[in-house]
């Protein structure tokens, strides 16, 4: 019994596999990349602006362009005073950063981050879909898939809003309100866009979506048709609004209200900060999954299974990374919208376009078949 407990398909195996996936994907990859992005963002912006950026942190002679700044930042935040305003609601004040950090971590569960591992056939070349005992590189294979993503991503609204409310600071409250209105507005657009893709894929399960897209770039979701191409840009925009980063950093608005986390310091602020970058990673991962073929890469399926898995993970990582860099690029290129402009963009421009796009996608689908 005990031996069989860990066999393929047995509960022990499932748990062990899930834990290792969480370890590799969430802890190592997502958190690692998000932390790295905190440094990369500053360094990259410096490069765009002909500056040098943070390049000092080092371990003795090992400097590596200052990559260790994220470690230094984390240490700094840990040792900073954790200040709570006297009139703040202490419970909600403490809860808010957790609510801001947890959802971006949870939503990662549905993202497939590599080709399925073929248990017992790892030395052989296994064509896709013919594997007998596959282990999907995806923490949770849910039929609701993308909807799960939305459900949890919306939870992070609570983080921002509660932070603003609990701080007992009118600027923070204003920031929280703005965050709520902004995120709710754009979720509609996001849903509509995904609807267009859903019409095309016929499924909401990300693993299935990836499988439907071929390894070649012209087989990817983004080039399935005109509505899908439009959907990509709509989704990109809406996703960036969801991360609340420039040009959509209205809730934060450093030069005017500083935002919902104005009263936060130390590690609690660090959680907001990291959560923001996790959202970047998460939205990038979702976009890669839906539009850019996920982990698919041409020719990799000819390799032995273990190599195929490895290469697909690397390719997936590279795609996500490039998306992150793209988001940073946008953030340092465009100036901030005004709150009313942002609402107008959401409700009067993007939403009608995305609804029309759903109709278009439906017509397209009918025309194809």
């Amino acid at each position: 019994m005990s031996g069989q407990f860990f066999w393929y398909g047995q509960p022990g195996f499932v748990v062990a596999a899930a834990l290792s996936k969480i370890l590799v994907f969430v802890v190592l990859f997502a958190l690692g990349l998000a932390s790295l992005l905190t440094w990369l963002e500053r360094r990259q912006s410096a490069m765009m602006q002909d500056r040098l950026g943070p390049n000092r942190a080092n371990l003795g002679r090992w400097r590596a362009w200052g990559i260790l700044h994220f470690v230094a930042d984390a240490l700094k935040m840990m040792f900073k005073e954790d200040f709570i305003p006297p009139k703040a609601n202490r419970f909600l004040f403490a809860l808010a950063p957790i609510l801001a950090l947890a959802p971006p971590l949870i939503v990662l569960a549905i993202i497939p981050f590599g080709a399925p591992l073929c248990w017992g056939q790892m030395q052989e070349t296994v064509p896709l879909g013919t594997c007998v005992r596959p282990v999907d590189l995806q923490i949770a294979r849910l039929d609701v898939g993308v909807l799960f993503y939305f459900a949890f991503a919306s939870l992070s609204i609570y983080g921002a809003t509660l932070a603003g409310w609990a701080s007992y600071n009118k600027w923070a409250l204003m920031g929280g309100m703005r965050a709520a209105s902004q995120m709710i507005s754009y979720e509609v657009t996001m849903g509509m866009t995904v609807l267009a893709m859903f019409i095309s894929y016929g499924t909401l399960e990300p693993g299935a979506m990836v499988a439907q897209q071929g390894p070649a770039p012209w087989q990817w979701g983004i080039v399935r048709g005109v509505p899908h191409f439009i959907a990509f840009f709509l989704f990109l925009t809406a996703a960036m609004v969801e991360t609340k980063r420039t040009p959509f950093d209205v809730p934060e608005g450093e030069s005017e209200i500083v935002g919902y986390f104005v009263e936060y310091s130390g590690l609690r602020f660090g959680m907001f900060y990291l959560g923001e970058f996790l959202e970047v990673v998460g939205s990038s991962a979702l976009m890669v999954t839906i539009f850019l073929g996920g982990w698919q890469i041409w020719g990799a399926s000819l390799l032995p299974n273990w190599a195929h898995v490895l290469v697909s993970m690397l390719v997936w990582g590279a795609k996500v990374f490039l998306f992150c860099v793209l988001q940073l690029l946008v953030r340092w290129t465009l100036p901030r919208f005004r709150a009313d402009q942002l609402m107008r963009l959401g409700w009067q421009r993007l939403l009608p376009v995305s609804i029309a796009n759903v109709v278009l996608a439906a017509c397209w689908q009918m025309w194809i078949h």
Binding site: A46, M47, M48, D50, N55, L329, V330, W332, T333, L334
Partner: protein
């Protein structure tokens, strides 16, 4: 005063109003810079990139030739102080940081010279007006040296010996006839 309101209308046409092309252009610009700077910087060839930042303590920008450093008093051909204690510099000094006590010199070619010449570098605002004011090229600020930090105020008051220790022979001429022009004939 009438307030003038300048009205900037939104650009016409959906192409411009969607700002898609403008956004693309902007991304192009930032991406261009990124691509010019990043690879070069990663490869340690910063000199060829556009980056203008200096990594300060290791790299320093050379001072311009007219930088105003610590004061010094210039010397005559025989090593005596050039200053004739004319009091132009304390008069011009906006910080009142120069104190001079003149005396009569035994040397008949010189007549007047400073017995005490002190500059309080703590008060000095490094304006260079003393140098401008000096009719004798006796005081200069061309050493390129910063006022050294000191833990006692008294150490920041430079006296005549200290100021002369950095002094050199001045090449300035008087009456178009060079040093000790009075002796030529």
């Amino acid at each position: 005063m009438a307030t003038v309101v300048k009205i900037v209308n939104r650009p016409a046409g959906w192409k411009r109003r969607s700002y898609l092309w403008g956004t693309m252009q902007g991304l192009g610009v930032t991406f261009g810079h990124l691509m010019r700077n990043w690879p070069r910087n990663l490869l340690g060839r910063r000199a060829q990139s556009d980056i203008v930042t200096l990594a300060y303590p290791e790299e320093k920008r050379p001072y311009p030739p007219r930088n105003r450093g610590l004061h010094r008093l210039m010397k005559r051909a025989d090593g005596q102080v050039r200053c004739v204690a004319c009091m132009m510099c304390p008069t011009a000094c906006p910080a009142h940081c120069i104190s001079i006590v003149p005396e009569e010199s035994e040397d008949p070619r010189i007549e007047k010279r400073p017995r005490v010449f002190q500059i309080d570098e703590l008060r000095c605002v490094v304006c260079g007006l003393c140098v401008e004011a000096c009719p004798c090229d006796a005081i200069r600020m061309d050493t390129g040296i910063h006022a050294p930090p000191s833990t006692r105020r008294a150490d920041a008051i430079l006296d005549k010996e200290e100021l002369l220790s950095r002094g050199e022979l001045s090449v300035a001429v008087q009456a178009g006839e060079g040093l000790f022009w009075r002796e030529r004939k």
